[in-house]
Amino acid sequence: MNEHFFGTPLIASHHGAALDRLSWLVHGLMLILFVGWLAYFIYVLFRFRKSRNPQASHTGVQNHLSTWVEVGIATIEAVLLIGFAIPLWARAVDEFPKEKESVVIRVTGRQFNWIAHYPGADGQFGDQDTKFVANNNPTGINRIGKGKDDVVNKVSSEIAIPVDKDVIIHLGSLDVIHSFKLNSMRVTQDAIPGMNIPLHFKAIKEGKFQINCAQLCGVGHSSMIGLLKVLKPAEFDQWLKTNAGEESFE
């Protein structure tokens, strides 16, 4: 059996396997229920058809087996909920790694690409203000002071991260709601204008992965594809260097 769930793409993040395990469990439960009921169903349709059973019974089923089945379903659901779903969510979505020990990126969605903003060598993000917004500076980074060495991706929608290191992304949007979805990382988070939502994950596989936009955002929604590069630490530093400089893509 594959470690990732039926048909899903490879798992490239730390928490991905746990998530797919839950998927296996839930679908297992569903399958058992469905097959059980279906077998019963077909049997009953056959057994109690009119030509075979011309006189119906007024009372029907007398035992309370079904109650036990129902209680059973409820119990299993409770176990999956308390044992798996809630802790998994807490871990994958809420419990953040230390910012100091992670790569922190500001990712901003807009129609129809992603802007990635790295703090640069000083490890600090420059201030942002609408008054600095310009064609080559769509998120309005103040290039004086802390923002001097900040790095912004030069190739549209291309984001790089190092492998085996916690990544924290602060997600925002300039215009409408987008959704930042990394299938192989099992990460999805809506990018909502006016909000700044943090998300985190740890890539465990190197390579190139897709960034999908998973929220209808206008005419270009279906082609708002991005590229996530998971690089060796040295390559990552190199990538930052090549992307340093004032101008971003466009």
């Binding site: 007024h58 659901e77 779903a85 099992r186």
Partner: protein, 608 residues
């Protein structure tokens, strides 16, 4: 308010020689049966229209950016540049997608399930002469019709129909068409206000009717389950719709008067700052929408369950198993459905506490559904099952709803929803519930009550053909979507996922490792073929429907299915005022095969 009187008309509306003219009889009738049929025909037409939009979209999904044969040219002639050279532009795809959802939910299924069947059947089943407020009933239909007209017109105005999904999330809904001040979204909102008004009037009417007009002896626990389902549905509409109306009004203000209820400050659309004051919240819209949205999905399913329940009881010739449990479950669903809405919003940035709350309630609400399905399944045991067309559709409802319902569970667990959210898995989940689920239940209802409404049967052979082929193609459409969803195919993709495919990665040298495989992309074609085939196999139904009205086999008795509920104890078709003598009820709704009785059914109004 019901200031103008309906009573004046009623005071002398029953004189035998007072025959109403054509207009008052068929167009401006206040008779619940006529209104029911008006609702039925209108909503069936919308159902077909909504399906037609999807059949066109399925071309685009199967063959992205190629001209649609035959219809492409027509689209271009009708709609202009959005269908240039017969190719569906992404804009048009988005419009059609949003309108497919809207039309199916608000103009087809709800009016058919609640408006049509509710209107026609409920007063008959509870032994009432009509709805409590016949005039309001008429206005309710008219508001619905008007809402439909507004929605329909919106396709043809500059800029085209609404294109922000049936969910109309702000800010997209506000900024999607800035070029036109009155645009598709504006008409969508106006249409929605009309539809909501219609639903509210309908709900008030239904609930009042069920509370007040039950015949003598028709106690709450003797109501047919269908009536219970409609009763709860009424409450869902009554209390869940107003928040959407409020949200609609606010979005209308945003669109027309540049307010910013749902817009934060500092937005810039394609590089230009949006001149609004800001201070609003996009999430507020989502909360208000889904506060309606989730109860709404139970509005889509409960009447269907009610219909299925009636038909199963009648065609197994035995009482429904666990009537009390059914009633309690449907009430529980009604209550809990108001506190699960945010499971549609897990990924908008929710903390552990709140998402735990909502996924817990979501799991809890699945239990009454399981109970209902179990009860229906167990009802089959010991029956003498007659496989006529209504019964076939009703039976198929069970496993189809089962699949749809069960796949709701992985969506309901917030952790698994991280991956599944907004993929075709969601599309498959809810279509299993509403298409082979509710639509089948509604087909069953049409075949079942057709003889009561028209005095003629529909053709059995063509009915069964319709059933078998619909069942096959429905599954061929929606089963592959689960696989596509699991493979990571996003919904609302105007190119059917082509940009996310491996082919794309290769062409553009991005070399990503998680593109959609050719197998998954090819499924689009399979699904589309199945969808068009499903369209074709509706032809027997449409012909059967109209042909049988005039030519179908005449019923030989008022109770052709030998059922127990009151609607079958009236003349066929029932006259104005429904019952010739005031009915009195002596027993529960499903007294089939009572030991010691001469016949295998004992109508509710039969004393012994």
């Amino acid at each position: 308010m019901q200031a103008p009187s309906h009573t004046a008309e009623h005071a002398h509306g029953h004189d035998a020689h007072h025959e109403p003219g054509f207009l008052t009889k068929y167009i401006f009738s206040s008779d619940h049966k006529v209104i029911g049929i008006q609702y039925g025909v209108t909503s069936l037409i919308f159902l077909f229209f909504g399906f037609a939009l999807m059949m066109l979209m399925r071309w685009q999904l199967a063959n992205p950016n190629t001209a649609i044969p035959v219809f492409g040219k027509m689209l271009e002639a009708l709609l202009g540049d959005v269908a240039k050279d017969g190719i569906m532009s992404p804009d048009l795809y988005n419009s059609f997608g949003a309108m497919h959802g809207t039309i199916m939910v608000f103009l087809a299924i709800v009016p058919l399930a609640f408006g049509a069947f509710g209107n026609f059947v409920v007063p008959l089943q509870i032994g009432a002469p009509d709805m409590a407020f016949p005039r309001i009933n008429m206005v309710s239909y008219q508001a619905y019709f008007l809402g439909g007209v507004v929605m329909f017109i919106s396709f043809f105005i500059p800029g085209g129909a609404a294109k922000s999904g049936w969910t109309s999330y702000s800010p997209l809904a506000t900024v999607a068409d800035l070029a036109h001040r009155v645009n598709g979204q504006t008409l969508w909102l106006l249409g929605m206000v009309l539809l909501i008004t219609s639903s509210l009037l309908g709900a008030v009417n239904f609930i009042t009717t069920i509370i007040q007009l039950r015949a003598k002896g028709m106690s709450w626990m003797r109501l047919p389950f269908f009536v219970w389902a409609q009763f709860v549905t009424g409450f869902l509409l009554l209390l869940a719709f107003p928040p959407l109306e409020a949200a609609g009004i606010m979005q209308l203000m945003d669109n027309l008067f540049q307010t910013s209820f749902f817009l934060p400050a500092g937005l810039s659309v394609s590089g230009n700052p949006l001149p609004v004051s800001g201070g609003g919240s996009p999430l507020l819209w989502q909360h208000l929408f889904w506060f309606l949205g989730h109860p709404e999905v139970y509005v889509l399913i409960l009447p269907g369950m009610g219909i299925v329940c009636e038909i199963i009881a009648c065609n197994t010739r035995k009482p429904i198993w666990g009537y009390k449990a059914l009633v309690n479950s449907v009430l529980a669903i009604g209550f809990i459905s108001f506190i699960v809405w945010a499971h549609h919003m897990y990924l908008t940035g929710m903390g552990t506490k709140i998402s735990t709350f909502f996924q817990t309630t979501t799991m809890i609400i699945s239990i009454p559904s399981v109970i209902i399905l179990t009860a229906l399944f167990l009802s089959l045991w010991g029956g003498s099952i007659r496989f006529n067309t209504p019964m076939l559709f009703a039976l198929a409802f069970l496993p189809m709803f089962g699949i749809g319902g069960l796949t709701g569970l992985p969506l309901g667990f917030n952790a698994t929803d991280i991956y599944l959210h907004d993929t075709y898995y969601v599309i498959a989940h809810f279509h299993y519930v509403v298409a082979p689920g509710t639509i089948f239940a509604l087909f069953a209802g049409v075949y079942y009550w057709f003889p009561k409404a028209t005095g003629r049967h529909m053709n059995e052979f063509w009915g069964k053909t319709h059933f078998v082929l619909s069942l096959i193609f429905m599954n061929l459409i929606f089963m592959p979507m689960f696989m596509q969803g699991l493979a990571g195919m996003q919904r609302r993709m105007a190119d059917g996922g082509a940009t996310y495919s491996m082919a794309y990665a290769k062409e553009n040298n991005t070399g990503t490792q998680d593109g959609l495989s050719p197998k998954i992309i090819k499924m689009n074609k399979t699904v589309s073929h199945a969808a068009w085939a499903l369209g074709v196999v509706q032809i027997p139904f449409i012909i059967n429907f109209f042909w049988s009205m005039k030519r179908g086999r005449k019923v030989t008795s008022d109770n052709p299915w030998e059922a127990t509920t009151l609607e079958w104890q009236t003349p066929t078709p029932p006259p104005h005022g429904n019952f010739t003598t005031t009915p009195e009820v002596f027993r529960g709704p499903y007294d089939y095969s009572v030991p010691g009785h001469k016949k295998d059914f004992t109508p509710q109004n039969q004393k012994v």
